[in-house]
């Protein structure tokens, strides 16, 4: 838990002041989006909340719905 906060604080410190100083607002915006996503995922992981796996969804889509699959041998 602590590590999570530490790591994300570090990421913030490394990136944000530079962006603000150079007035790169667009970059800051995109950075914030991903930063928030990453932090949310990390938080969910640490708090043991189940994270939906995209591959399971994809597997479900391809195998069950579209029916394309190799025979299991």
């Amino acid at each position: 838990m602590i590590y999570l906060l530490l790591i994300y604080a570090c990421i913030f410190i490394i990136n944000v002041p530079g962006l603000v100083k150079r007035k790169e607002w667009r970059e800051l915006a995109v950075f914030s989006i991903f930063y928030v996503i990453a932090f949310a995922l990390g938080l969910m992981y640490v708090l043991d909340k189940p994270i939906p796996s995209p591959m399971k969804g994809l597997q479900h889509l391809i195998v069950d719905i579209l029916g394309i699959e190799y025979p299991q041998g």
Partner: protein, 368 residues
């Protein structure tokens, strides 16, 4: 216009591609369970099938000099459709990167350091990749020379050390397995080691001279393919029937090295070599993902996105599969199917459309 300010020479491209394909050496374990002693054939067939596709990648990059894949997609398919296709590619990059990071973690947790918590391994590894990416593609290209040499040395030396334990009759009978299995094997091999070179479409924009690009790309691919071939032959000759039951056939065959009771227990050395190669592969993937996303949003530089994306990837890698069993099953089925359009369909299609529409037009930015 381009995000990446650095330039690489085409010889460095050769080493990058060779190192990239090398990194997939342990990943052929996905096919070994299916194609058993005919894995070598499957590798050759996969190589033959992917070569024309890769030539089309280079042709596409030559046609649009200095531009990376996202820009090319925008130009060829128009703004809206191009962005959708780029998002598909980005999804592929992110997923595959998380698989590869997870592979490294699984390597450690199964064989080498079993008690270390999984997430720490992933964090350390990904942080190193992120550091490499932040330094830029030129640095990656320069260090790839060293990694490729290390990888080749490891592969050839293990082959030589195991020669006295090889039994070449393990390759017979030659054409035993049903064709559907061979087909699946070819599918896996052409996607996972060879097809993933589609990521280089993001990097070829940085070539400073494009004359020898085709030759160097194919040479790099060939070097990587030869290494895979040697590994497949070594595993089949040494292990024979048992190669399908081990989690990692390469590791097992290396454990059997027993020369003069001095050269034993080499498997950790191979673990180190493999980690280094996977590091190169993951760094390239991370670089490509970050640049693609930055390009998509029209940013001036990709640097700020490196760390958040690395953070997302770590969590993805830790959670996307539950165990190596999941990983193997899904990769052998859905994983390769969804990436087929990206590797085999879109680039040649883009080339065709570009030829028809006469792109790139010098004055006009996008199509008519």
């Amino acid at each position: 216009m381009s995000i990446e300010k650095g330039k690489i020479s085409s010889q460095q491209l050769l080493f990058l591609i060779a190192g990239f394909v090398h990194g997939s050496v342990l990943l052929i374990d996905f096919t070994v369970g299916i194609t058993e002693h005919q894995t070598w054939m499957v590798i050759l067939a996969g190589l033959v099938i992917t070569v024309p596709v890769i030539v089309s990648y280079v042709a596409l990059a030559k046609r649009f000099p200095g531009m990376n894949l996202v820009q090319i997609n925008d130009m060829v398919y128009g703004r809206f459709l191009g962005k959708i296709i780029s998002i598909y590619y980005i999804f592929f990059f992110m997923m595959t990167l998380s698989f590869n990071i997870r592979d490294v973690g699984e390597l450690y947790i199964t064989f080498l350091m079993q008690d270390t918590p999984f997430i720490f391994l992933l964090i350390v590894f990904t942080a190193t990749c992120a550091f490499a990416v932040a330094k830029g593609v030129e640095v990656l290209a320069r260090t790839s020379h060293l990694f490729v040499v290390t990888g080749l040395f490891a592969i050839i030396s293990t082959f030589i050390l195991l020669i006295d334990q090889m039994d070449f009759s393990n390759f017979l009978p030659l054409f035993e397995l049903p064709f559907i299995k061979i087909f699946q094997g070819i599918h896996i091999v052409s996607v996972i080691p060879f097809g993933e070179t589609v990521v280089f479409l993001m990097i070829m924009g940085c070539l400073n001279k494009t004359e020898h690009a085709v030759k160097n790309t194919l040479s790099g691919l060939l070097v990587g393919a030869v290494s895979l071939f040697i590994v497949a032959i070594r595993n089949t000759a040494v292990l024979g029937r048992t190669q399908t039951i081990w989690t990692s056939a390469s590791f097992q065959s290396i454990r059997l090295i027993n020369i003069g009771t001095v050269l034993t227990r080499m498997d950790f050395l191979i673990g180190i070599a493999q980690t280094i190669l996977m590091f190169l592969k993951c760094s390239i993937f991370l670089y490509v993902t970050v640049v693609a996303i930055s390009q998509l949003f029209g940013l001036k530089s990709y640097l700020p996105l490196v760390l958040p994306l690395a953070g997302i990837e770590v969590i993805l890698a830790a959670t996307v599969f539950q165990s190596p069993v999941d990983h193997a099953t899904i990769t052998q089925n859905a994983g390769i199917i969804y990436s087929v359009p990206l590797i085999f369909v879109f680039p040649p299609l883009s080339l065709l459309i570009a030829k028809i529409r006469g792109l790139p037009k010098p004055e006009r930015g996008k199509g008519t």
